[in-house]
Symmetry: D2
Subunit: 289 residues, 4 copies
């Protein structure tokens, strides 16, 4: 089986550029997306985006619909979160990347999110994929925990076949046997995807490793292998994060990461995407570094 | 983490009995469910259920909403299939077990299906699980391809926590490295689940092995390990099946399976569930064996 | 690739009978092997074999060369163990199945062991396999933790190709992602092996599950799926076992296991192998049950 | 469990330097090792090392004892290969890294090899590890296909505990479910190992991916993640390689790899190890590029 729209050879050879707000995924510039696992409050988000602006990052992540193993874990702010995200977008111009888990959530979020994230658990939620295909808006599609590359590409194909070309693929680790890391980050898959598809491919080192100390080296490796970007969990006070505390970077650590990733981007003939307007705000935000 | 409602110890020690039509899952009798992967036509279903009745089987499976890796594969008859299933149920009294992949499909199917199957790809489709919890109707929840036992039990918990106690768990193979079988059937997980939860647990040897010749021995093993039932893909002409042809049994092979499984059930102190009314129809159906 | 000597089709259709002492693997009778993980003392072994004789079991397992993850864990009695095993064999007539990890150990053990076990870590220790092939004596070859069926059969082929037809295959669980069980017991692989090869195939539920409560149900399932036997860890005082304490059965539990497995063997048209002379000793040993 | 000698914290904080010929593993310089899967002829090896010298590479790999799944596949030149390797070493001064699979092979190879490779199948061949510990010579220990990080470190511990500190660890891919790549390269494990142990850690992208086009990007990623080196399969005519043809680089591709890896090494504050004497031979060897 070969995907019709997703395949690099059959359809197009150049990498598709997907624009989320002012940020372009799939161009010569490497993109960094960052933000907390879950939106917790306006203050939390405000603190995060101040740092993002300082760093020239144009997209913030943060979930308000949270897929959790247990029904008794925090499930996200839900509708309440829309107001926070709207305010953040209005005040900063940053684009919002956030997860939806059902068609109903998609309908609610359609004007609030700039890019819809599909989590690994929903990679083959085909009804959701079809609905996302009909919106025409950018989709960040994460690889399933045990999804083959073929299945991953066909999941994207469900969106593309509905006429929506704005799909960004995201490798986020696959399930394996070693208890020392949360998942196994499959960076060879990123290189393989770049061969097989024209869609932009990014990497999520935070969920892949689940361990703060591993995020920086694997971020460097992701850019070195050819990824078009990375998506990083960052929190003003990681130890107080309502979820995924063990893997969230502090905002200072995020700044270090950006500094370390940049020379790798240059070493592979690319550069980091930097939102020009971000630098205007450097002074007021500098206290956060 | 321990599930509140699903756990055997915290909540109840006796196995929950889930009634689907006239068939009881979780009692002393071992249940066999059978039917085609996909509903293709009235004639196909009619031929299948005639054999099921001869064998005393009270539940027929058959999908009309089909989750397929590729958007270009047959996606099921959808609404068209309701009429066929309605006719089958009306004419035979058999209960219908069929998959739903979204809340919208669930709403459409609510009066047509007797038990809603949640496929492995949707085991953590939490919005769907919550909606199923609200219906109060029986749910057959399949284990995800890379789901731990803990995740499986918490997926059930999403349904139970909404007040619906009618959940049947189904082990259907996990993803592993050997290309010779489709998945790895994890029968120790069945024994473990029987310890950890009071919910009935059945096994799907067809999807687990993906290989016709392995279904009969693994069905015997499933009953021997303590499963409360098995669910088998069977088709009047397996080689013409629109999907999963390599793993569908012919109706003759299904009869052989029932004959071989019965002594195992007796050896573990149980018996096969047999619908009494089924035997009344033996004569007219006997030509199908 | 197809194995030349190991394949059922190319070479022979009947299951090979491998005789270890007076016990035949691969005949119509299902074989039970039992014994401690490690030989600890004469008294320990004497207590074990008294129960084995009562149960009609003709082969005892027990390691004196122990492959351990850490060099600081107990490595076995080594040469000291030969005397104990020699005494046990002389006094009871039971056959000894024990592991060797190198050609040097094989040379030392050649007159002391009746069947050489190759552990999962050494399944592809090709120099050891070739040396075992030259001895002509029975070999119990365990599947590697991540070995495909093809690799398993070719490992056996290394022994067979040297002219030694006495190979017994043993499924003992493969490595997977769930922390709740030690490994995943792959019983479909047993059914598949019975198709592909004429060699006898047995199952090790103790190492596969690593959990005492799962050994009995998976033993039943192993026989139901078509295995030619099972090999069980049993210890007079499991809680005092120097290794694998969590998975060793007590001698009373072993007797229960035999009683539960027997009806399954009958249900699949076989019976349990029982050493006739064993029953002569029933009276003196009965206190151990 | 924590390894006594292998652990970074308990024992030493600085990375151990392991010297193989004139090449130092574990220093600030990143090491590249290259060579064919199997030694086939003097002419083949001569052609390879001429390129290696041009590139400043000081260690050549090439097997004469080959672990092969099937006993009917090419098993290596064995003793015949010693003469070729001796001549190569004498003429070029390059150090020889080559695999041994048993104590007997180790004894034969002791004066011919500068570094003994232990393949993934033998990672827990404890008798071999102990014997290697007694030699005191450098050992390149590859991670087993399904080995946890803990098991990997304890395998090294078997060598270290015998008094041999010269162990280089090598991540070479773990077994997983996707048929599109041979194994899954686990680069987060490299970062984790660098935290946990003071031993040098290198990466084998050739065996990990099994696909020529993926070797260059994953080599870049390996250096970016913090590996102390990489080991690459290269062959004068990859399509004629007697084994692993699909993953061997041509000598021209190897030169490209070195050129692409160097800027990554610089980006992480390191440089490539270059044998000074190698450049003296550049002129005579330049025709090979």
């Amino acid at each position: 089986m070969t995907a019709k729209f997703a395949s690099r050879k059959e359809n197009q050879t150049e990498t598709t550029k997907v624009k989320v707000g002012n940020t372009v995924f799939g161009g010569s510039e490497v993109v960094i997306v960052a933000g907390p696992c879950a939106v917790e409050s306006y203050e939390q988000m405000q603190e995060v985006v101040t740092t993002l602006q300082t760093l020239g990052i144009g997209c913030v992540r943060g979930g308000i619909f949270k897929p959790r193993t247990s029904p008794y874990s925090f499930q996200g702010l839900n509708q309440e979160g829309f107001e926070i995200l709207d305010a953040i977008r209005r005040e900063t111009g940053l684009a919002i990347i956030s997860e939806v888990m059902s068609v109903e959530q998609l309908e609610q979020a359609i004007t609030h999110f700039d890019c819809f994230q599909v989590g690994s658990r929903n990679m083959q939620n085909f009804e959701l994929l079809k609905a996302l295909g009909k919106t025409g808006k950018p989709v960040l599609l994460k690889r399933g925990l045990a999804a083959t590359i073929e299945e991953f590409l066909f999941a994207a194909e469900y969106i593309l076949a509905e006429g929506n070309p704005n799909v960004i693929l995201c490798e986020r680790g696959i399930r394996s046997f070693d208890p020392m890391t949360r998942n196994v980050l499959d960076l060879a898959a990123v290189a393989l995807l770049k061969e097989l598809t024209h869609l932009p491919v990014i990497v999520d080192p935070s969920h892949a490793t689940g361990k703060r100390s591993l995020i920086l080296p694997t971020s460097r490796a992701a850019i070195a292998v050819g990824a078009d970007g990375i998506i990083i969990e960052a929190h003003p006070q990681p130890e107080r994060s309502v979820s995924d505390a063990a893997q969230a970077l502090s905002l200072t650590e995020l700044s270090t990461l950006v500094a370390q990733v940049e020379p790798i981007a240059l070493a592979v003939g690319r550069s980091l995407a930097r939102q020009a307007n971000a630098f205007n705000k450097t002074k007021s935000a500098s206290s956060h570094q």
